[in-house]
């Protein structure tokens, strides 16, 4: 019979091969699933994979994938720091919300300025918001030994409630009500509830424009200047993780707590560092999202689009490696954008859950092959229990 035994040592080419196998398995299983879910599986798959050239404006469609990929990559890279060291922050969704809240509250605290000079302060507000939210599970874990995985997750629900409470109460915005003469006589609260919008000067505008094939008009893509901020943050952290002593220490931390102490790093420091990095990056992403896509806070369920949870998948798909995470994030974002495109095509009758399915399939294929790549197949004639 065939037995799985732990492999001794490893080579980087083995990791590449296993990634290739995972990708292939994902494509095959996804195609099979599409055959079950849709009437025209091959055409759906084709349009999904080539959606950037299927009608519409290619630049705009690429932009959707690029923006979402950037958000996912930044959050996932932050999470990967802790995951390597066995620190489980699964509450990035809540830290994302806290970041957006932090940026917005900074803007209010500064007296709702409209000058572009305060833009960096808003971003800092986002980082602080995310860090504050992440500091709760970090502190409880580092000093009171409370399970950080569950606490960080519970705080997602609390952050969602906080967002909903804020926009329905203290920061609810309203539209000016005018009398017959056109004078402002009051204010009608927005319904559904949302805060007042950030001024134009504090929004990240499109960097790239696409030309509409029909009218020839210029359309702004989602590739906005905020992505430069996120890209910079990604590169900085990736460089730290790959090339500096801190990155090396964190890598040591994953092997064992003992090795961690020998490397001069306390467990508490690893926990704090992991949570502050992941929380800060999720918060920064929340602030950028607020300043480039939503412009105002909305009720919890409407503001959050599961980026924080999807980033957990991305971190594992990318094998917790800065380069892998970047590829995984853009691949999944591309599939997401493609799936929402095929879902919008009435003749394909594909459900918009297709993307979620492919994401889950990819995750399981990646986890299975990652585990297999650390083992070797051995052929044995007979298998006693202690083979």
């Amino acid at each position: 019979m065939i037995r799985l035994l732990p492999a001794k040592g490893g080579h980087w080419s083995g990791a590449l091969v296993s990634i290739l196998i995972a990708t292939l398995a994902t494509v095959i299983i996804s195609a099979g699933l599409l055959a079950l879910l849709t009437d025209k599986p091959m055409r759906t798959l084709w349009e999904l994979l080539t959606y950037t050239s299927q009608g519409g404006t290619p630049a705009v469609q690429w932009g959707k994938a690029a923006a979402e990929g950037m958000y996912l990559a930044v959050i996932a890279l932050g999470l990967s720091v802790g995951y390597k060291a066995g620190v489980w922050n699964i509450g990035a969704e809540g830290q994302f919300a806290a970041g957006a809240i932090g940026a917005y509250l900074f803007w209010l605290a500064l007296g709702t300025p409209t000058t572009v000079a305060v833009l960096p302060l808003l971003l800092i507000g986002g980082v602080i918001g995310g860090m504050v939210w992440a500091a709760i599970p970090a502190g409880l874990r580092a000093h009171l030994h409370t399970n950080e995985l569950l606490v960080s997750l519970m705080l997602v629900y609390v952050a969602t409630n906080l967002l909903t409470y804020l926009v329905q109460g203290p920061v609810q915005g309203c539209a000016p009500a005018l009398d017959a003469a056109g004078n402002q006589v009051g204010c009608i609260p927005y319904s559904p509830a949302q805060s007042d919008k950030l001024p134009e000067s504090l929004r990240f505008g499109p960097l790239i424009y696409g030309v509409s094939p029909r009218s020839g008009a210029l359309i702004g893509t989602k590739i906005h200047s905020g992505l430069l901020v996120l890209g910079g943050a990604y590169l900085a952290l990736a460089a730290v993780l790959l090339f500096t002593l801190i990155g090396f220490r964190l890598r040591v931390a994953q092997s064992s707590a003992k090795a961690e102490r020998f490397a001069g790093f306390s467990t508490a420091a690893t926990i704090w560092l992991s949570f502050l990095i992941s929380g800060g990056l999720a918060g920064l992403t929340g602030a950028v999202f607020l300043m480039s896509e939503s412009f105002s806070l909305t009720v919890g369920g409407a503001f959050l689009s599961n980026l924080g949870f999807a980033a957990i998948v991305i971190a594992f798909l990318g094998r917790l490696h800065p380069v892998g995470i970047l590829f995984a994030a853009f691949a999944i974002a591309y599939i997401n954008a493609g799936a929402s495109w095929v879902a919008s095509q009435p003749e394909l009758r594909a459900d918009d859950s297709v993307a979620g399915f492919i994401e889950a399939i990819a995750l399981f294929c990646a986890l299975a092959t990652a585990a297999l790549s650390q083992r070797r197949l051995v052929w044995k004639k007979e298998g006693p229990a202690h083979g």
Binding site: L144, T146, N147, L155, F309, A360, L367, A371, A385
Partner: protein
């Protein structure tokens, strides 16, 4: 205000919220006692909630036809679950949970994949599956769930409300006692604990650790599925299906096990405490002195803040946790090396 009816209503609400947590947590308890950490409870619960609801809405009339009634009678039954339909719905929901759990079993027991990553993936998969089929399920209709006790009992003043609690609530509490008996007094229960305490020792004694674990994982999935179906079929005024309706109940079940330090009767205590946190929202939001931030932010967050608080208190006593935590929980197991 604080008369008998008020307190009984509070007890009924607490039991109502405690039931799914307790059912799922007993499943988690057995799984963790065998040394497996499955974080996919939330995903298995939401799938159970959906499957239970869909099964319920199909079984209302077909079970009537199976029982040999004519079409006119059956039309009156439409939208009401009969007792066979009710049992079948829960069984199907449990099987759906177990099916999802089998994926976890294959990944962790055959491929040796990381428990935490696979469990998280299972939750994400469950939420994805239900997001996909959610809109279809919404069109169906299950109006009321059959009560297992005679209507005349339930119609009694005051105590009737308590008697009207679902049979599953009773079963949930019994299952905690059964788990205690199973783990401490039965041969298979001992094997489960042996596999969890030290898998290499259990393996060396010739026990099939992986087989035991596959069994507990499937059981945990079944319980999570049943717990999910309780949320969609019984917990609310009328059976309802909504995407993401379990709202973290699966995570609360996992928190419950940490709170209980793996002891079945403390799971019951924790479930009642968490149930109280849920019912406080309904009970306290009408108080006049309650500020708006209390009603809109603190009260809805209580079900999540109370577990955090009790976990903090429990975690301070590391010795108690170490005394009961399965020694091989979520540790890699390579018997051939």
């Amino acid at each position: 205000m604080a008369d008998l009816t008020y307190w009984l209503a509070l007890v009924v609400t607490i039991l109502n919220y405690a039931t799914p947590l307790l059912i799922a947590a007993i499943g988690v308890l057995i799984v963790e006692k065998s040394g497996v950490l499955n974080l996919g409870v939330e995903g298995m619960m939401i799938v159970g909630a959906m499957v239970g609801y869909i099964a319920g809405s199909y079984l209302d009339t077909s079970s009537c036809a199976l029982m040999g009634f004519d079409g006119v009678t059956c039309l009156q039954w439409e939208g009401t679950l009969t007792i066979p339909g009710y049992i079948a719905s829960f069984l199907l929901a449990g099987l759906a949970g177990a099916a999802l759990a089998s994926l976890f079993a294959v990944m962790t027991q055959m491929f040796g994949a990381n428990h935490v990553a696979t469990g998280l993936g299972l939750t994400i998969l469950g939420l994805t599956v239900t997001n996909g089929f959610g809109p279809d399920a919404k069109d169906m209709r299950v109006e009321s769930v059959a009560n297992l006790l005679p209507d005349s009992w339930v119609a009694l003043p005051t105590v009737g409300r308590l008697l009207g609690t679902d049979l599953l609530t009773v079963l949930a509490f019994l299952s905690a006692v059964a788990a205690l008996y199973f783990l401490n007094r039965t041969r298979v229960g001992m094997l489960v604990r042996a596999a969890g305490e030290n898998h290499y020792a259990a393996h060396a004694l010739g026990y099939h650790v992986r087989l035991i674990r596959v069994g507990t994982i499937l059981f945990g999935g079944f319980m999570a599925g049943v717990a999910g179906a309780y949320i969609s079929l019984v917990q609310l005024e009328a059976p309802t299906w909504r995407e993401g309706m379990t709202a973290g109940a699966g995570w609360l079940a996992l928190a419950l096990i940490l709170f209980s330090t793996w002891r079945p009767l403390r799971v019951v205590l924790g479930a009642l405490l968490f149930g109280l946190a849920f019912s406080l929202e309904l009970r306290l939001q009408s108080l006049e002195w309650m500020p708006s931030w209390g009603v809109q932010f603190v009260l809805p967050s209580l079900p999540y803040l109370v577990p955090v608080l009790v976990l903090v208190i429990i975690s301070r006593n590391a010795a108690m946790i170490r005394a009961n935590q399965p020694g091989s929980l979520a540790q890699p197991f390579n018997p051939s090396s």
